[in-house]
Amino acid sequence: MNSIRVEDAIVQVQQGNKEALEVIYSMFKAPLYQFVFRYTNNEQLSIDIVQDSFEKLQRKIHQYNPEKGKLKTYLFQIAYNTMITKVKRQNRLRSLLPFLAEDIKVAHRENYEEKWAVQAAIESLPEDLRVVVLLMYYHDLTQKEISSILNIPVGTVKSRLHRALQKLKMELEVNEDA
């Protein structure tokens, strides 16, 4: 699907065409779900966040200005903010009701050894470093786009990337000279 169709779909959604939202959804559902899942490691929560993000997109689509940035960046920003709110609420509930909390991190792991190691390494990164790696490596976003999604300076993105790479290489036992 090319960029012209994305722009057409945006205009149509802005004009109230709900079917056009399905076009945008079919294009961005997978990357958004993958981003949220890699961050939260929780399937049901990821589905919830993606659906909430598209509901918010539909409500806020009139505020979207293509000149300020790509729709992909805008959608990832909505998904990130939604995810952070939900994760914070989850952590608060877990601290209040620890006996109800399940160790989701263990529940969704798969048995493939190498994949598990990578999943565990990403999971072991602090949240601020993890999100930068996910957005840059798995979703090909630029440092500038990441800075606008996370609402932080580009310099901070760079330093977080550097620290995240060091930690990942250590966790995955990657040779420094490679």
Partner: protein, 80 residues
């Protein structure tokens, strides 16, 4: 802009192994589907952010069955 991953071939190979399969789900949450899932499907979690344990959920659901008879115990003291 410089991508620091470009120089990390070995790391990239490892990171590429972390694939995520996307389940099929609609764009909107259907209220009826959510209720049906909550009533009939034991795997569905109405508030996933809580991260319930299955046993804990069962205990919570069955608590009224225990509490209701207990609330009637004081009444027994007034029956002559």
């Amino acid at each position: 802009m410089h991508n620091p991953f470009d120089a990390e071939e070995e790391l990239k190979q490892k990171l590429d192994q972390y694939t995520v399969e996307v389940p099929d789900f609609p764009v909107k949450k259907a209220r009826t589907t959510r209720i049906a899932n909550w009533v009939f499907a034991p795997t569905y979690i109405p508030f996933p952010e809580v991260g319930y344990k299955q046993v804990s959920a069962k205990v919570i659901v069955s608590l009224p069955l225990f509490i209701i008879p207990v609330t009637f115990i004081p009444i027994l003291f007034f029956i002559k």
